[in-house]
């Protein structure tokens, strides 16, 4: 316990290194905007001022994934072909799509663990939970891949461009029923969600606005031959509409611009960013300031993040360890922190589902509610079991090399065997992880926990590390 008190005392802001923000602030910045930072990353950022640190993060973010995508992502299967298949071909096709879906989830998780810019992945996930689409309904992993690439490309770009692009994204068109929205028989699904969930929030528009906007979006469709967006003039309602007081022969693009012109749009997104990065209860004044910057910049997402990360509230001691890690943050963060080597990501993809965040398959268009809803007795025990097991990689491998275990494994169904094999292939070296801490053992709890532990973790070496991970505070960021 003494060692902890000393460690946290050394890191109080006043005692931090002369120019830089110090290790505690660096850890906070990196973990809030990424996945569990390692000691060497914290050391680099500790020397920067807060502003330098924020600028450095923002400058390094955005762009494309570095993990090679599965080979099939460019394939497109015309749905008309599916309709002509016999029952057996259909079964095989559906099975292939399900496997590809799992592969795609594994690809994204691998990117989150391997990326040089965790902020890019955090923002991609943020937009995935904002411009929600899910495999359950979209069904095509190829379309979900394209959407993921789009969200990453715009992750720190311009929100207005992102809104336009995400609205015409084929996965979104499927997810929110664009196909059945046509002149004379509008489907209001997209028109409602674009106002309620993507831009303004509930109560900032009327049911009439939704009805009129739905007509403006008629004609937005997908070309079945390519899976690309196409505008079908013949299905579009050309007549006059009125949305939020603006009238004309509006098209979908016009409606998006009308929504973007509402001050509520910047405030809505700013408040959501606040809950993601700062605290569970947004401060109205702080949100208003971020929203003003966001709007003035013409919806530049980097500008909004810069303003957000430089608010006093972001750095305030009372907001440290005030947010619950999402399953993705817990799993990707732990894998990154301890440099757990894995080949087949399947066990972690399934783990995310157990923990309540099945990436690319959100529960519904509202996305994951997050916060305290992440934790109930089942998900908490599953989190703890993961943390308990992740250090037993060696034990597992030894156990699985025994003849009896090998026989058992040979008898498993292919899926179960693949799962067990993936577990047996995990790599972790406690010694490598501990090396940077030699002579700096007091940094162990500082790196691993967002605040002093709730309990009194004790022990030596890896036993101490395991005790820290079992502490409730490890669930916080």
């Amino acid at each position: 316990m003494l060692k902890l008190i000393v460690a946290f005392a050394v890191l109080l802001p006043g005692a931090a290194a002369a120019q830089g923000m110090g290790a505690a602030d660096a850890r906070h910045l990196l973990n809030r905007t990424g996945f569990d930072a390692r000691l060497e990353e914290i050391d680099v950022f500790a020397r920067f001022s807060r502003r330098e640190g924020v600028e450095r993060l923002l400058a390094g973010a955005g762009g494309a994934a570095r993990t090679p995508a599965p080979g099939w992502v460019k394939e497109w299967s015309d749905p008309r072909r599916y309709r002509q298949m016999d029952a057996e071909s259909r079964r095989l096709f559906v099975r292939e799509q399900v496997e590809r879906g799992l592969e795609l989830k594994g690809w994204w998780l691998a990117e989150m663990v391997g990326t040089d810019s965790p902020l890019t992945e955090r923002m991609t996930l943020f937009w995935h939970n904002h411009f929600t689409s899910g495999l359950q309904k979209v069904r095509s992993p190829a379309l979900m891949y394209r959407q993921n690439v789009l969200l990453r490309r715009h992750a720190l770009g311009n929100f207005a461009e992102l809104l336009h692009a995400a609205s015409k994204d084929p996965a979104m068109l499927v997810y929110l029923d664009a196909a059945t929205n046509r002149r004379g028989q509008p489907n209001e699904n997209f028109a409602r969600e674009v106002m309620e969930l993507f831009t303004l929030g509930e109560g900032k528009y009327g049911e009439g606005d939704i009805r009129e906007a739905a007509r403006a979006f008629t004609g937005w469709s997908i070309d079945p031959a390519t899976g690309e967006y196409v505008f079908r003039r013949g299905l579009h309602d050309e007549a006059e509409k009125t949305v939020l007081g603006r009238s004309g022969s509006l098209r979908g693009e016009d409606v998006l611009d009308i929504l973007l012109a509402q001050p509520a749009a910047a405030e809505f997104v700013a408040a959501k960013l606040w809950r993601e990065f700062v605290s569970p209860q947004p401060e109205p004044d702080g949100v208003a300031r971020v929203a003003t910057v966001f709007r003035a910049s013409g919806y530049d997402i980097r500008s909004a993040l810069r303003a957000l990360l430089m608010t006093e509230a972001f750095w305030a001691q009372e907001n440290r360890a005030a947010l619950i890690k999402s399953p993705v943050e817990l799993v990707a963060g732990t894998l990154r922190q301890f440099e757990i080597g894995f080949g087949d990501p399947l066990p972690f993809v399934l783990l995310l589902r157990t923990l309540g965040q099945d990436i690319l398959s959100p529960p519904n268009v509202k996305g994951w509610p997050g916060g305290e809803a992440w934790i109930n007795s089942t998900t908490l025990l599953a989190r703890k079991q993961f943390l308990d097991r992740v250090f037993r990689v060696e034990e597992t491998r030894m156990a699985m090399q025994r003849p009896a275990a090998r026989e058992k494994m040979a008898a498993l169904k292919p899926d179960a065997r693949r799962f067990m094999q993936a577990l047996a292939d995990l790599q972790f070296s406690a010694r490598d992880w501990q090396r940077p801490f030699e002579g700096r053992e007091a940094m162990v709890p500082v790196v691993l926990l967002a605040a002093a532990p709730a309990g009194s973790p004790s022990g030596e070496g890896m036993d101490y590390v395991r005790a820290l991970l079992a502490d409730p505070v490890y669930q916080l960021k």
């Binding site: 619950i324 157990t354 007795s377 089942t378």
Partner: protein, 380 residues
Amino acid sequence: MERRDFLAASVAAIVLPGVALANPAGYRRLLVLVELKGGNDGLNTVVPYADDAYHRLRPRIALRPDEVLQLDRRTGLHPALKPLMPLWEARELAIVQGVGYPVPNLSHFRSIEIWDTASNSDQYLMQGWLARAFAGRPVPAQFATDGIAVGGSDMGPLAGSGARAIALTDPAAFLRQAKLANPVGNARNSALSHILKVEADIAQAASRLDAGTQFRTEFPRGPFGNAVRVAAQLAANPAGVAAIRLSLGGFDTHQNQPNVHQRLLGELAEGLAALKAALLEADRWDSTLVMTYAEFGRRPQENNSNGTDHGTAAAHFIAGGRVKGGLYGEAPHLADLDGGNLRHAVDFRSLYATALERWWGVPGAKVLNGRFAPLDVLRA
């Protein structure tokens, strides 16, 4: 509520205080909720087999009069529900027809949220209705826990602060894993406070739970049969638990309904029959109330895929040693549909009020945000 109803309710509460409040048994009486996930087709469960409109609306999937288990001259049960007939004949099975709510929502997610939180259709509540009940009238501290969700991790009516609740699939596995719970230290913010609460719920349940009872009853094979076994073991646990929630999934029968529905109702009926047998062994059948629920029923008109789409009101079952068996609510008015869907006859919150007021003796109005008349389905 009409002013007249309100007055009647107030008068009843003053004149007959016992009706609304007193119940010495309290939470020693167990409530078992069975969720039929996906939205069960009420019309093919409790079948208006003598109604021509029923056969007209469902030319392909309607059940014939000679197939159903006839309860009276117009109402019959799906043949797969045969294992429930002994309960019906023992008059321990109440069937409530037309359960729903005003301005129904046809989205799975939203509608189950309405049921789980006992909200109005246009009202967003965070806390499950059982969690609200337990927060207002606490369950005795020596109970293992207030409520247990068996199978799956969504807490449904037990979600939210205020109640002690756990989810488990296999008690032995839960007890093993529970050693990882670490309910130590002081809360410094609401996030940590929530985690510590869940850690404490796990630790307390694990320290008190003795769910190893072995029954002579044979439980059906499969996940639902297992869940029923676990529920019986939890019911027999001497430390006590006030509510258990089971779920049976797959009722979203848009396609090929007859086969799927047959299998699901069979699982349900065999499971409930086994539950009764096991609870009789444990001497808990008379102190257990079983209730089904679902986000909605299904559209009276069959669709083009040999199935049914999302609908509104449906029939639900209430069973137990103290239940007054029979038909309650109203048979479906198939000639008077609302936009193709059934109008509800009984608000689902009346079922909840029955559990709260008549079973536990907990005032319902505060939990349910309004007065809903309990059903007269229980023996004294």
